[in-house]
Symmetry: C2
Subunit: 243 residues, 2 copies
């Protein structure tokens, strides 16, 4: 048992959830390593939503609301950490929720779909096809799901797949704590924030943005600016440690 | 199979080794998360040994060579990633090698001891006692091993234990990629470098340092300077990404 007054309580509980999720088969061992990388970057932005990340979240909401066919792509880490937040965001923006895995087995897909349904999400399921221009298992998706999406939210995505989705002409929204990653740089829009902070911010914006605000956010979308702000935040915090 | 010409080949192979080591019971799931954090920090120092890390490694050698009773404390990640490097360092400095685990079971201790022996290390084993002033399983160690050490090398250590060892009057050498961590700040000497780069550097210095060089390194040991240099390196690389 982790004592609730431990200074790293939240972080330790999250690690415990993920470690248990590996035992259940929901999270892959590689997913744990990816989470660790995220922890380090989160530390550098102060483990809070920065001003630019909030702007990115509001812009994500504008993109999702303006979409003809929005899809949220969910992997093991996302489901383990934020199934409830995914369900709430789906309600707020009306997107299809589809499971897509790097380390794909039918069993893992089913486990993750069940987890999402248990948290209140409607999961777009059914037979998958090899539809994305990728060599590995992430090529698998549904024709009326990710394949047909015009706007796709990909929390915790890998670089190859992000690139392939952008190459197919989709607007890709990434949630990635590393502002230097290939995913961050290739995505249409990158939210440099921790997932369970970012998703409720997007959902809140979906419920509250006016039409005029949406238009303004879409007209001023500048991913390079958002990434530069995140890097500036990290540099500033590191430099501060030298004082 | 990971193609050897992949730009992230080494990093991907390391992840695969660690993922397999979890299945074998050598690495804990939490160990994978810790590795991911290290990956992020390593990225910030350019995935190479910096000048200050090389100086820290040479100073570590001077400490080990001057010790009356040097000990290398090995955990699951260290054994999985660097059993051969530990064995080579032991030959170069004559330290006792003892297994000490945060997530301790007799079975894990035995697995890790076997792995180290297979790589050529002489492992200091036998019955452990609760000898360190700590509440968790890391309190367990051997009376003639870690408990009696005057200089102890703790690769990939946690903050509590580092603090306890320093509190017992030992010179503690940490290998930690996060220059802001509690371990890094509390250790007598911190090498901010990746383990499989750091250990051979220490071993090389153990074989080649002159007596005069050893004295000079010990007289000028300044951990704050070493940590500041590591932070400067990271800040510089981040700022460069803004250009």
């Amino acid at each position: 048992m982790i004592p609730p007054d431990h200074p790293r309580y939240r972080s330790l509980v999250t690690r415990e959830i993920l470690a248990k999720s590996v035992k259940k088969g929901i999270v892959s061992p590689e997913g744990l390593i990816a989470h660790g990388r995220g922890e380090a970057f989160d530390y550098f932005i102060g483990e809070r939503t920065t001003k630019s990340a909030l702007l990115a979240g509001r812009t994500a909401a504008a993109l999702l609301l303006s979409a003809r066919h929005p899809v949220i792509s969910v992997n093991g880490n996302t489901a383990a950490l934020a199934a409830g937040e995914i369900a709430a965001l789906q309600k707020a923006c009306g997107a299809r929720v589809e499971v897509n895995l790097f380390h794909r087995t039918e069993e893992r897909v089913n486990l993750i779909e069940d987890l999402l349904r248990g948290a209140g999400a409607e999961v777009f399921s059914g037979p998958a096809e090899r539809l994305l221009p990728l060599s590995h298992d992430r090529a698998w998706c549904r024709r009326e799901g990710i394949y047909a999406a015009d706007v796709i939210l990909v929390p915790l995505e890998d670089g190859d797949r992000c690139e392939a989705l952008v190459g197919m002409g989709k607007a890709v929204i990434a949630v990635d704590l590393n502002p230097l990653s290939r995913t961050s740089r290739r995505a249409t829009l990158t939210i440099v924030d921790e997932l369970t902070r970012a998703l409720p911010n997007i959902a809140f914006a979906c419920r509250t943005l006016t039409g005029a605000e949406q238009k303004e956010l879409l007209a001023t979308l500048d991913n390079n600016y958002l990434l530069s702000e995140a890097i500036r935040e990290m540099t500033g915090r590191l430099a501060h440690a030298l004082d």
